[in-house]
Amino acid sequence: MACFLVSTAAAIGVTIAQKVTAKKEEKKAEVAKQDIKEYKFGSETKWSTRLKYLATTLWTGSFLLAGEHVLHGEVAPFPPFLTAAADPADASEMLHEMGTVGVAMLALLVVAWGAGCFIWDLIKYRKHKKQEKLQLNKEI
């Protein structure tokens, strides 16, 4: 009924968090420009980039689902915009669906994003270790 709204609300929050993180990282980068940092697992990818991917996931998924709801006649272009919100019985059912299906959708997207980030970091880490080994062999 309106399950996509949970992900949309989360997308707004994540977008704001991403912008704030990007600004903080910019300031940090300026301060620590000359410092040579030690390589750590996951240090190669910025948090703002990770959050950008999460925001993209949430926005795009919500967009396609919103279209589905429009075609099903569950979203209208006039107030109260959600057809289920006009009737109190339907409204409670809608809220229940948002609390169950909507939250489950959000949780699955966050888990998928987390898994994606971990795999990406693992690939980068292995690449770095391989390069380190090659360099060490060259030196010997």
Binding site: C3, F4, S7, Y53, T56, T57, L58, T60, G61, S62, F63, L64, L65, G67, E68, L71, H72, T100, V101, A104, M105, L108, L109, A112
Partner: protein, 96 residues
């Protein structure tokens, strides 16, 4: 039906992203994420429907075809809009 359409689109976009992973300017990661996110969301929807005792996948809805078409065109439209029209000023980074 639209779940299967989104799944097929995710697989196709994912395969294209894998083969053209060096060409960042194509933004195929965005297209894969778009379809992948919708697939996961509809997967949850299908599971919730199955828990309620209805079939996991149904093809009875007369709107199914239109939603499947929306899934395909909406994803491509969003990809073109965000990756190429809104991102017009940014040039493709050269391959290292």
């Amino acid at each position: 039906m639209y779940f299967l359409t989104a799944l097929a689109c995710t697989i196709i976009a994912g395969v294209l992203f894998f083969f053209f992973r060096d060409r960042k300017g194509l933004h195929l990661d965005f297209l894969t994420i778009t379809y992948g996110a919708a697939t996961l969301m509809w997967l949850v929807d299908c599971i919730a429907t199955a828990i309620e005792g209805e079939p996991f996948l149904s093809f009875d809805d007369p709107q199914d075809g239109w939603i499947a078409l929306w899934t395909l065109l909406g994803g491509i439209g969003l990809w073109l809009l965000v990756s190429f029209i809104m991102n017009n000023g940014k040039k493709e980074t050269p391959k290292e």
